[in-house]
């Protein structure tokens, strides 16, 4: 027995994990693709019928779908670009030894680990037009009040602010780790060459750090694209469809209207976007490294 395990350890060790992943991930994904080709709906009592690409045709004719794609990209782009700039800035500020550094790092961790649903609800209160802190702060600054989540134009930026609050620290911590791993020699060489602080940053730090920043941006981009908890709890896609990102759109189709067939086609589209995007980034990184 012992000998059998030892000889086949290569296959026996990963077997449970592989079986689990196949049954809980690969099979469901295949199943979703199949469902997307049917008219499966919980609200209809007739038998499930194979309808070919009908759901996809409907999907590509649905303005809500394109709205969702647009909003997802808008939300992701806005949140990730601000997070990157702020995150790099914060990392540069914290990149030196000082008393209480670990404490500050600890504070940075909190938004990331705090339960998103709870955070979403708290921010809903902050954004409350009459009693919220948001408008109170604007008032103190002498700015006009905002409708925050209640207006078509401000809802995505308001949601992005929450994402930025949650995830800027992640960019900062990744960049901070990257800064700690930078070699010393180029700095010494630059100092000998008489570079000033800005030049050192522009010509030494930034180029050496850019692979790390890129990884942070990619990781954040993938996660922001998939954001569900915050948006669902704060607006559920509203007002109207003004914050209905792809995730929310698919969820609403599936578990709001129980149109599994239609929802599945939206999910397949979402999958294609996420995987396509990831592959593109991987490919870009590889060609860039060469």
């Amino acid at each position: 027995m012992e000998r059998f395990i030892e000889r086949n350890i290569k296959w026996l060790f990963p077997l449970p994990a592989a079986v689990f992943i196949v049954s809980m991930m690969a099979f469901p994904v295949a199943y979703t693709i199949w469902v997307s080709l049917t008219d499966w709906s919980m609200t209809s009592s007739s038998a499930v019928q194979f309808v070919g690409l009908k759901n996809y045709i409907a999907l590509f004719n649905d303005p809500r779908f394109f709205n969702a794609v647009k909003l997802t990209l808008y939300f992701t782009g806005l949140a990730v670009s601000v997070e990157t700039v702020l995150g790099v800035g914060i990392a540069l500020i914290l990149n030196r030894e000082f008393k209480g550094k670990n404490f500050v790092k600890g504070i940075l961790l909190l938004p990331m680990v705090a339960t998103p649903v709870a955070i979403g609800l708290a921010w809903t209160l902050f954004y409350e037009p009459t009693i919220g802190l948001g408008n109170y702060a604007l008032q103190l600054l002498g700015l006009p009040a905002s409708k925050w989540l209640a207006s078509n134009t401000s809802v995505i930026p308001a949601l992005a602010i929450v994402d930025i609050w949650e995830w800027t620290p992640m960019v900062a911590l990744i960049v901070l780790a990257g800064l700690a791993a930078l070699p010393h020699d180029p700095y010494e060489a630059a100092m000998v060459d008489g570079a000033n602080t800005w030049q050192v940053f522009r010509y030494i730090t930034l180029p050496l750090l850019s692979p790390t920043i890129l990884v942070a941006v990619v990781l954040r981009g993938i996660d922001a694209f998939k954001t569900f908890d915050i948006i669902y709890t704060m607006t559920a896609g509203g007002p109207g469809f003004a914050s209905e990102t792809l995730n929310i759109y698919a969820y609403n189709l599936g578990f709001g209207y129980f149109k599994f067939g239609a929802a599945s086609s939206a999910l397949v589209a979402l999958l294609a976007l996420v995987l396509g995007g990831s592959l593109l980034v991987l490919w870009m990184r590889r060609t860039w490294e060469q």
Partner: protein, 271 residues
Amino acid sequence: MKQKKHMDYLWYGLVLLVAIPFIFPLAWIVLASFKTQAQIVTTPPLWVFTPTLENYQSVFVDQQFGKFLWNSSVIAVGSTLLSLIIGLPAAYTISRYKQKVLGVFILLARLMPGIAYLIPWFILFTKLGMVDTYTALIASHMLVGLPFIVWIMVNYFDGLPHELVEAAQVDGCTLQSAFLKIVLPLSVPGILTASTLSFLFSWNNFMFSLVLSSDRTKTLPIAIYNFVSYAEVSWGSVMAAAVVIILPAIVLTMAFQRYVIKGLTAGAVKG
């Protein structure tokens, strides 16, 4: 010399400016959880007030948060432990035998949007009569925890000298007993990193529980979400509930801060 001192003060001011926005909303949640509804809706906001425990009482007594706390704990601990049990051996052979295909598969699981599995899971678990069971919830949460654990541990095992396992083999171990007696004890930091994060992911998970749990297995995020579906939101209770959910996550994070940072930034920095 004096100017340097001034620069230092300026810099500490900058650090404060960085830290405050991140801590402030959390502090406000804690503050609000001790206010009455009337105190919360007052503008300008009240900074000084007589704290009340009313909200916590409502959360634990009226809303039975004790039960949800238990559910969340069972599911988070269960999914983390099971993910470790099947994930650690897999990570080991992926690292040792360079099982690339499996590795990529696991990475894919990490990239996939979780919502992609929801419909089949819902259909499947409904047919099996497993909706609203710990089994279904633990299995679904494992799909987040397992890829993460494998990912972290493959990196960790890559860094262990392989000679140690060979020494153990010569000393009389089988490969599997070398894994248990040598590899695992040496991987405690990695395992702590991976399991802390896996626990947090499960603890905070909303989407899977939203679809797969109901009265019996409702977790904390679902319970607090249900608050706002009432006609009038009792903000005080929401804030108290938020504190109840967030506090364990924060305590855990503080206790394992070093590991949490490692886990969240893992793989981003090479070398």
